[in-house]
Structures are given as C-alpha cells and as structure tokens.
C-alpha cells in the first residue's frame, strides 16, 4: 500500500523540474483562468505558509512566467472575486467551498497517522455524498472537484450561491453534512404522527439518513461519540449489518429507541467535522491552486474530471516521484 507520508517533501530541484518540465498553464481550470484578474493569488516560497499574498495576474501568461521562474513551495488562489484584488478590496462574490481533508475525517477505518489510500478513498466517498446533495437537494450545477494533495476541495460556482453570506453558508454546510437531528414527531389535526428520518425518502431527513448510514458503517470500537458509552457502541457495531441492508426499524429495535436517539445525536454532532466548516464560511479564503505542487507530500493538486473513477495514486503523482 502506498502511504503519502512516505513520499518525502519535494526538494527545490524537484520543484524546479515540476514547474519547468511537467506543469502546464492548461492544467489550471478554466473557471480560474476566466476570472484571473478578479482573484488574489498567494504563495509560499519556503514552506512556512503563504506569506507572499495580494498578488494579481492580469493574464494567464504572467501567472505562467511567475510559476516557472519562482517555482514556489506552494501556490494559492482566492475563492473570492474582487474589483480590486490587489488590496482585497470591493469583494463581489466567492465560490462556495467544502474542504474534505482525509486526515481530519472523524470516522476512519484505517489507523494511519497521516493519510493513506483507505482514508483518501473515504474522503472521496464523503465528497460523492456531498455532491449528490448539492445537486439533488440544492439544485446546484456548476460544481468542480479538486484533489488537494491530502483530500478534496469541492468548489461551487453557481451564481445563486456565490453572493450568499457566511450565515447562509453555515446553514448549507450543516444541511450537507447532516449536523441536525430531524424532527420525528409531527402534528396533524387531531393526532401526532411519528416519522423517523429513515422512513422519509426525500429532503433533509433523507440526507441525514445517508450520513448516519455512512457513519455507522465506518465506526470502530475506538470511535468516540458524544454520550455513547462503550456498551452502546458495541451494540451498534454488533447490529450494523442491519443498516447495511437498510433495515433501520429492526436496528432501532435491537438498540432500543432511546439509545438509538443517543446514537444519532452523537453522529449529528460528529458530522460537523466531515468538512472543515471554517473554509466554507470564509468569504476571502485562499485555496491551493489546482495544477500546483503540494511540496510537503510531492503530490499534484489536480482538477478531478471524474470523481467516480479518480485515483490520486494514478492521477496526482508527479513524474519526478517515479524517478527518485
């Protein structure tokens, strides 16, 4: 199994080789090239964080020249669009972004220290779920995925959402990850009816069901959920094949209704960590530039054409790594 942590950081020579021989301006996604004059760029030249900020490129050629000459340790570009990007002034809009970092996923089946094929694949599964909800529930279309080097960025450029503020973005994140337990009792005229989330095959309850299913199927005996003790966790693991078969009612009976409530409450709270919400609500964030080199792990930050089939170990390893 390939472990990225075993890939040593790229040397200055390797960076030079990468930008001068392998990198091509055509690998920078069109949605960035089209708006290049409105975005802020930032660079890290020595590996201590992006402190060369407020850069602006009037044309793709100028960006190309900069990267080929300076061969930075890391390159970033704003999700925000400005009228005056050099001063980060007159903000007009910002992409809606979700950052799924494999090393920060709250339930991982691997035991690795950094990231490995298993957790990267789990990050990919989470990304697929989020995209499904972005399209199916929120009706968004202009969605791009970028492999960041240690996880994935989902970048949404639909005009409808690019102007929304931090508070709306925060609610979108909570909806997508399933951070609220849905109601389970509803009032009709003269009676109360009970619908658990798993019997409602649409809307937010359906999103929540999918996230809970993912979580339960990825828990292990060392997982920690708020107010779920070891015994309850053990019972969840014992009966989880019922969830795999979508026998939710039986699973709830086996666990007990009150204990079931505790489990889904714990999962809802944990789900907030499926993405780094700080990135999503930040209207002026800079993100790693697709096509640039992640020098810490010697991987390419790559635009993902097809997330279903994408494999970072095939598609995001620079040539110089094979020649080491």
């Amino acid at each position: 199994m390939v472990k990225i942590e075993y890939l040593t950081p790229a040397s200055p020579e390797e960076r030079k080789r990468y930008y001068r021989e392998e990198w091509n301006i055509k690998q920078v996604p069109e949605y960035i090239i089209q708006s290049i004059q409105e975005r802020e760029f930032g660079f890290d030249h020595v590996g201590r964080g992006p402190n060369d900020r407020y850069k602006v490129f009037r044309t793709p050629d100028l960006l190309k020249r900069f990267l080929k000459v300076r061969t930075p340790f890391a390159a970033y570009c704003s999700v925000a669009f400005y009228d005056k990007p050099r001063r980060r002034d007159r903000w007009t809009k910002a992409e809606l972004v979700f950052d799924v970092d494999a090393k920060d996923i709250p339930v991982r089946t691997c035991e690795c220290e950094g990231v490995c094929e298993i957790c990267l694949n789990e990050a990919r599964e989470i990304v697929l779920g989020i995209i499904d909800t972005l399209k199916g529930d929120l009706g968004l279309q202009n969605i791009h995925v970028v492999y960041s080097g240690r996880g994935y960025h989902i970048r949404v450029l639909d005009n409808d959402v690019m102007s929304v503020n931090t508070d709306v973005r925060s609610q979108i994140v909570k909806y997508l990850v399933g951070a609220d337990v849905p109601e389970n009792e509803y009032s009709l005229d003269f009676e109360k009816v009970s619908y658990e989330h798993f019997v409602i095959p649409f809307g937010y309850p359906n999103v929540f069901t999918k996230r809970v299913k993912y979580a339960i199927l990825h828990l292990n005996e060392n997982s920690e959920l708020d107010e779920v003790n070891k015994k309850l966790l053990k019972d969840v693991l014992k009966h989880r094949q019922l969830i795999e078969l979508d026998n939710w009612g039986m699973f709830k009976n086996k666990i007990g209704p009150q204990r079931y409530r505790k489990v889904i409450k714990g999962i809802a709270s944990m789900n907030m960590s499926l993405v780094d919400a700080k990135v999503s609500i930040d209207l002026k964030r800079i993100l790693r530039l697709p096509s640039s080199l992640h020098s810490m792990v010697s991987m390419k930050c790559t635009e993902v054409k097809n997330i279903e089939t994408f494999d970072p170990f095939d598609d995001a390893v620079p040539k110089f790594v094979y020649e080491r």
Partner: protein, 435 residues
C-alpha cells in the same frame, strides 16, 4: 390606503371613540381598569409591544387584558399602529436594535396567535392568499429565501428541498415523491411534513423579514431627512420604557431583554460545558482558536460585562475596569492557566499568541494590556453557539441548559442564578445540621 385615511399625523394621539368601542366590545376583554383600554393609535401601538413583552416575560400574564388584539374589527387601527411602531423604531433605533428585534418577533407571534383563532379552512385560505401575494411563482428556489435563512428565521433543514426548489404544493409533492414512499400514505406524509404547517411558517417568517426590511428602509431614509416627527420619537422612548418595565418587573424572563445581569466575581461552576472543556486544556490543533478566539472573550465579558447582549452597548474594558486590575489579577491568570494546561502549552511554542490575546481584549497588537493602547483593536464579544459549532466543533457537548440559549455567555448568566440558589440552599442545610 388605511394609513392614508388617517389624515393628519397628530391624530395618532387623539382619543378615538371607534377604537375604544371595539376594544371594550371585544368578547373576553377585561375592562375593569382604564389602563387596559388603549384610547388612541399611540396607545394601541404600545399595547401591541406590551402584549408581546408581558406574554414572554410575565408568569401572571393575563390574555384577557389584550383580547382586543384578536378582534377582527381592530384591523384598520392595528395596521396604523403597526406602521407607527415600525417608523418609530426605524427612526430612533434602526434595524439592528433590541426594539426592532422585539417588534419583528411580536409581529410573527401576533400572526401565529391570530391564525390560531381561525377555523382550519379559513386559516388555509388566508395563508394561501397571503403566500400567493408574497411569492411570484409556484416554483420557488431556496435561494429566494436567502434573507430568511441568513437571519435564521428559516432553517434550511426545516424545508423540503428538491432540485433547488422548496416544495409547498401538495400535487407537486405527490408528483415528485409518492413513488419513493413505501408503506405510508404520501398524502398523510405531505400533511405532516409540509401541509399548512410549513406554509404558515414560510408566510409568517416572510412577514417578519418584510417588517425588518421596512424598519431598515425607514432607518436609512431618516438618516437623510432633517428632523423626525417628535411623536415618533416619543413613541420610540415609550417602547423602550415598556420593554424595560417588563424586565424590571419580571426579572430576566426567557428572552434576556434585561440589563440586570451585574458584573461580579466569576463562578466556574456556572461555566457552560464548552468553556469547562477549554479550561481543562486543549490538544494541539484547536488550541489557538479555543484559547484566543473563544475563551478570552468569554472570560472577559462574563467577568466584566455579562449584560453585553441585552444592553447592546459597545464598551471598552476600561469602562468597567478602569485600572485594569481585574484584567491583571483575575482574567489573565485564568486564561493563562488554561493555555498552560494545553498540550503542548500554548504560549510555550507560540509566544506570539499573547499579542493576539491582547488584541482580542481591545488593547492592540502588543504584549501586555495597557490603557494607552486601548481601542487599537476591538474587544471581541463571545462566540455564539453557532460559531463554536463551526470553528471548534469538538467543544460543543450540549447539556440541558444549552437547549435554551444561543450563546455560552447567556448560559453563564442563566446558570449563575441556579448555582447561587443551590449554594444558598446548601448552606441553609449546613446551618440546620450545625443547629
């Protein structure tokens, strides 16, 4: 049109026989005291606010004193009273004030209560008509409600969304989802999940948002005009008095309108679970945010200015701690203690964070708090629960009290009473034993 009928503005202060007849003839209206009966538009506007403030804060609230608000004949007068309130509050306090928030909330509650007096059919027809007038198309994108979602009047997860649209219509619902529903009647599921409930919710929240927008417009316009009408200013003052009176008479209530929470020595027993967790020390990763962004504002406000949200007046630390002795002797030691308990200790490997801590207290980018630098930065207010969930999700382990509050500081203000009461009871028991 109704407003135009009013004619001269001074008329809002005159006694109005028609209004008084409607009030006194309202079916369950209590008329034993003259003060229960509004005599003018001005009075009626105040009664509207008083109804909400008392209903929310007064355990002895008597709805019979306000029954006229639910008499359909009051409509014409009520509309004028509503606009008077919006204008008074817009002119004097603007849209981000406590008064504005109370008016917007009261408008929502009033509609909700009025709908409750109607039959199911009447209610349905009315809500559908109002919604139709507010919404231009049957297919509504969720982004249309951006303002409502942003102000948290509507929560995204409370709505049924499909392909970017909010589903409100029954036929639309059945067409989209009935083939997916198994073992349950789709019609019943529609009634339960959407039905009149969500339609009413959307309608009420839209009216609330429009009210807030109108107050904002009035505020913006009044900035350009020379002199606001003195009657509106008088009404604005009276509104504040009504709100203050309800707090002074009835204590903190559940809305937290009061400025009655006084600064006093900190009692860690009353800290919310998130603060207790940070006090124990954090692991690397969330250390900086937890100590600097979260704990520092919380501890400083809890000790020095716990009523910041209810008073809604921006202060500097020296306004409440003129010599900075409390900052030096009580607040900083607590924060440094929590930083020391982090692993690794926060200021050991990141000494520059002391400057950031200082900045959050309002003393600029310097090593230590000094009066000469105060005001270079802003004294950060405590993070809301919503923000804690976003920035530091691992901290949020809510208990029962957390359900009732939206900010850890409100938790502290609530809990401090409970803790005081408990310790009084304990000492009473101890004295019993001594006896």
């Amino acid at each position: 049109m109704i407003v135009r009928e009013l004619g001269e503005f001074d008329g809002v202060l005159s006694e109005n026989d028609d209004l008084m007849s409607i009030v006194t003839e309202s079916r369950s209206q209590e008329i034993s005291d003259d003060s229960f009966i509004p005599r003018s538009y001005f009075d009626l506007a105040l009664k509207r606010i008083e109804w909400y403030a008392k209903k929310k804060n007064d355990r002895n609230f008597d709805h019979k004193q306000y029954d006229f608000l639910f008499n359909p004949d009051i409509n014409k007068f009520d509309v004028i009273a509503f606009f008077l309130l919006c204008q008074a509050i817009g002119v004097k306090y603007g849209p981000n004030s406590r008064e504005s928030r109370v008016l917007v909330e009261s408008q929502g509650k009033l509609i909700e209560n009025r709908l409750g007096k109607l039959s199911k059919i009447e209610r349905n027809v009315l809500v559908t008509n109002i919604l139709n007038s507010l919404l231009s198309s049957a297919h509504i994108k969720w982004t249309f409600f951006e303002d409502l979602i942003s102000s948290k009047k509507l929560k995204l997860h409370e709505l049924i969304l499909d392909s970017g649209e909010i589903i409100l219509d029954k036929d639309d619902f059945l067409e989209r989802f009935s083939h997916k529903i198994q073992g349950r009647k789709p019609e019943k599921m529609y009634e339960a999940l959407i039905g009149d409930r969500i339609k009413e919710l959307v309608m009420i929240k839209m009216v609330m948002q429009n009210t807030e927008n109108y107050i904002r417009q009035v505020g913006e316009r009044s900035n350009r005009e020379i002199e606001p009408n003195p009657i509106l200013l008088e009404l604005a003052d009276k509104i504040s008095e009504v709100l203050l009176a309800s707090v002074q008479t009835f204590g903190q209530g559940s809305g937290g309108y009061g400025g009655s929470v006084k600064a006093s020595a900190l009692n860690p027993k009353a800290f919310p679970p998130c603060v207790k967790k940070v006090m124990e020390g954090m692991k690397s990763g969330g250390r900086n945010d937890a100590i600097i962004m979260f704990l520092t504002p919380f501890i400083s406000y809890a000790r020095l200015y716990p009523a910041v949200f209810s008073e809604n007046i921006t202060k500097q630390i020296s306004d409440v701690d003129p010599t900075l002795s409390i900052i030096q002797n009580e607040i900083l030691p607590l924060i440094f203690g929590a930083a020391e308990r982090c692993s690794p200790p926060l200021f050991e490997d990141q000494p520059q964070d002391k400057v950031n801590l200082n900045a959050k207290l309002g003393f600029g980018m310097h090593q230590n708090p000094e009066l000469k630098n105060e005001g270079e930065t802003t004294w950060y207010t405590p993070m809301s629960c919503e923000k804690v969930k976003i920035h530091l999700p691992s901290l949020c382990k809510p208990d029962e009290t957390c359900k009732k509050i939206g900010n850890p500081l409100s938790y502290y203000n609530r809990k401090i009473w409970v803790v005081k009461k408990e310790s009084k009871a304990e000492s009473a028991v101890e004295e019993d034993i001594k006896d």
